[in-house]
Amino acid sequence: MRGPHSLHPLQWARWILAAAMLAWLSSPAGGQQAERADAAAARAGRDRALAFLVDSQNPDGSFASGAIEGVHDTGYSVASFYDWQVATHALVVLALLECPETRARRDALDRAVRWFLTTRPPRRGSDWDNDTIWAALYGVVASVRLFQDSRFNASDSRDEIEARGLEFLALLTRNQVPTGGWGYYDDPPYSRRPKWGTSFATALVLPALSEAERLGWLTDPAVRRRAIAYVRRCALPNGAYEYDLNPIPRAPAGEHINQLKGSLSRIQVCNWALWRASDESVTLQDVRTGLERFFKHHRFLDIARMRPIPHEAYYANAGYFYYFGHYYAALAINVLPEPERDEWHQRLRPQILKTQRKDGSMCDFLGQRYLVVADTALGALTLQAGLPGSPR
């Protein structure tokens, strides 16, 4: 006769199965098949991406094009296409700076730097369309990084780099919205200093602003403080970041973009930026949690990738969140203690490598060159960030 605590063999099996399910769901992969890619695969993917970039460089040293190349992109101001070209170009300069040098890459970098330093400054395209901010944001990031690179710091180009950096910085300062952030559109009534910012655009430039302040380029520390405060105020209690700052921060129910699943890429860039700015509102555990959620809900980024209408996927995810989010996820990983990083990078790499095309390029939205080139540069930077010797 069985005692009161005895279990039927089937009941035992049920308990064991339940325990296994719990263990699986609480694993870093969050219940998904956790793929891994090692450093060798990352190097191979990075090199193919860089080869594509080097091959696609224009004779004048520039990348992509400042002209509209597809009917899906109509509706923006004429100036926006040049603005995006300059921003794309800055990303390629960053990729070529960060990645190991070869003769071909160095030659491409030198020509790219020359174009970057001599091309005409971007200008606001229309009353509502201020996509020139993308050029200014990545222009500042690339200028600071270029100025810190020993290959260019000691060259004849030093003064030119500083001048260009100051130029981009002045453009940013002039366009900082009253609440402290940066955005790329304006709302009526249109004003010379725009009024709309976004968390992610503001966050991406925070570390570069710290460096610019240290270099003496940014003389008004309030600019950076306001920007940090803007990003901090976009943080929501659920761990997500608002797309743009609202007087009453909220994440409405349903498929709102400010839900976690619509904030996967913003979480990475905002956590990374606030941590790098030594803002106490973000802890390393927040960075880990943000990364965990990134992988747990990654399917929402997969589904959105290559959809041609902005924000058309679930939780208003847009295709172009993809490589942007992965790059800053890689940088967020790199603020974690050294022993933790490789595990995260091994999980991150497959999400980039699985999207790489035969010619080495990558794309997450439409097919215009500025997007393909920018995405490939972001992909290369993501892979490079997980390899030994990459900067934090």
């Binding site: 589904i303 290559m306 794309c363």
Partner: protein, 254 residues
Amino acid sequence: MASIRTIPSGLLVIVLGLLCVCVPRAGAQEADAEKAPAEKQDSKEPPDPPDPKKLERKVAKFTRELELARIELRIAELSNQIKLNSCRSGLRKAERAQADQQQALEHFLGHTQPVTLEKAGIELERSANRAEYAKDEFQELEAMYKAEEFAEMTKELVLKRGRRKLELAERDLALERRSFEMVAKHDLPKERRELEQKLESAREALEAAQLELAKEELSAQVSLAKAQHKLQDLERDLEEARGELGQAASAVEQ
């Protein structure tokens, strides 16, 4: 166009002439009729003197008839005025209606028809552009996914959407072509025909109104002349009766 006054003038002359000829002849016949018994009496025996009482009744009768004839003349005048006013009003309306229809046709030919055709043409062109744009978009999507071998999760969704958009744009274009043909070859010609028919009807109505007025003017003259002649006859009869009565009264006194 012939004047309203020129057409009936000949008729008017004829009618008046007939009236002038007939009325005196009627008076002459009456005089002859009165003379005949007298001549008979002269040939046999002297007539009896007229009865004064009969003559008084005759005078009273002619007096009453004369009063009625005066009223009838006034009635004829008023009736003519009413009929002529109505005819003239009808003529003015018919003139205005014809002018309006003429203007409507001219407006249609000068503005409505070319503007409607132009608008329909632009709508057709817009649909053609939309279809071409949808085709360009779809081709761009196809090219985008051709280069992108990994985006299987979105590829079919997006291409299906683009294909349907193109199909609908092409159907819309076909419909717009039919619509243009309908407007150009059916609706506008039909509207033109209707306007031309309305103008023709208005012209006919105007001509009828002109004839009606001419007829009424003649009728008015005839009825007025009749009433006047009747009045004149009665005045003369009354005068004669009074004369006879006076003579009879003198004879009785003698």
